[in-house]
Amino acid sequence: MTCDDALAGALADDLNAAFERLACAWEQRLYAFALRMTGRPRDAEELAEETLAQAWRALAGYSPERRRALCLRPWLFQIAANLARNRARSARRHPALSLDDLALASDMVGDGGGLAERIADEDPLGMPEVVVDREQRLADLATLLLTLPETQRVAVVLRHVEGLGYGAIAEAMGEPVGTVKSHASRGVARLRRALERERLSEAREVAR
């Protein structure tokens, strides 16, 4: 896989100056990824910061040629995913939540209420109910994601949250394209079944 990444070129020429740009450009994306992996904003902040720190240490040990040839996207997500995995392993929570935890967890996942405001800002005509509905759906989905097995979660988040291609995901996960495709599709299927179950139980609740 070849990448033509201007930032990678800059990292080859002047590591420290270019890394500052990399850190600023990537902090929010790494945070978003880490939040989907850990479910906790504080953990996600730490994980994103640690990802940047590890990335720099690795870059500092690479030759300029190697830096120039880097595909930064899969490479950074690979570091973040490995850190998330180690963290999950050391905390003995794999998957991060069981289905039984869902009720408890739905309070703490999400964006702390900022999302509705942002969407309202972007779209002044957006109906408040619709916004709230979407926010709730996203929070539920984030919680469900945490119930997926680690590999499926990484694949689903990279593919469907971050929008990476399967080639890049394969590189980030260190597995063949076919394997990560199947991780992603099994993950999505599992999410869909879980959402369906919730919808049914909600319908039963209403009918009662």
Binding site: E20, R29, E49, W56, V156, V161
Partner: protein
């Protein structure tokens, strides 16, 4: 397509578009800043109150990196980025441990856990600055003392330049390095007046230092005890009672009078004693 299939399709679409929505998560935590600070690729800064008023101080994982007076934070950021070759990020205050260490250090506590980042200066400047750091609170030494102590006895001018390049004035006390002729000499952070102000605040009797030097006195000793000669501000010299105080124009005169150099402030030995 039946109704159930349509509903499944639309829920599949909304699942994937909701997934996409999850990447909107944002945080106000300064993640990049913290990572850069941790790696020593950026510095944090704040202001503190000192004998010279409000000064800006910057630090990173290696310790204090830059200190100066500037009219505004913007001026400081430009100056510091140029000096350090890194960005500096504003903080409301220094971390508690650092703040304590800075206060203790400025009050003369040499055991305060304060470190300095001198990666940006040449080895000679670093050596000269670290030597200046050894001059105790409330005392002064001439440029020639620093030059001799770091093994370059003829490099007095270079020592002067090194002091002028001190990125961490006040904390690395280049203000304690003065001219041997009684003039306090130049000072980067506000000129000779500031130098005088800091030294006075540290307890140096500046008038006396100037008076002795302009009377041609370089060293003092006591005729009552061990026949040792010192720089006038040496801790031991300051305890000599007026009736016993003897003064010397140079080390030869002291040697001729039977005196030897103090082991603490280490004035030069006479060439004759060689």
């Amino acid at each position: 397509m039946n109704d159930k299939q349509v509903s499944t399709l639309s829920s599949a679409r909304s699942l994937l578009s909701d997934c996409r929505g999850l990447c909107e998560a944002k945080t106000t935590a300064p993640i990049a800043e913290n990572a850069l600070l941790r790696l020593g690729l950026a510095d944090a800064y704040t202001t503190i109150e000192t004998a010279l008023g409000t000064v800006y101080v910057a630090w990173n994982a290696h310790g204090l990196s830059a200190v100066t007076r500037k009219p505004t934070a913007g001026d400081f950021e430009v100056w510091a980025a140029d000096l350090l070759g890194r960005k500096v990020y504003a903080r409301v205050a220094a971390p508690e441990r650092l703040a304590h260490a800075m206060t203790a250090w400025l009050a003369g506590d040499r055991r305060a856990a304060l470190t300095f980042d001198l990666r940006g200066v040449t080895p000679f400047v670093r050596e000269a600055l670290l030597k200046a750091r050894e001059i105790p609170h409330g005392e002064v030494r001439p440029y020639s003392w620093v030059a001799r102590e770091i093994g370059h006895p003829r490099a007095m001018r270079a020592v002067g330049t090194a002091m002028a390049r001190n990125p961490i004035p006040l904390f690395i006390p280049c203000h304690r390095v003065v001219r041997a002729d009684g003039h306090l000499g130049a000072y980067g952070m506000g000129g000779p007046e500031s130098k005088r102000r800091i030294l006075s605040a540290e307890g140096v009797n500046v008038e006396q230092v100037e008076a002795l030097a302009s009377a041609g006195v370089r060293y003092v000793g006591s005729d009552s005890t061990s026949h040792v000669y010192c720089y006038p501000t040496c801790h031991y010299a300051q305890r000599i009672g007026a009736p016993h105080l003897v003064t010397f124009a140079d080390e030869e005169a002291a040697y001729a009078a039977g005196y030897r150099p103090c082991n603490v402030c280490r004035p030069p030995a006479a060439r004759l004693a060689g």
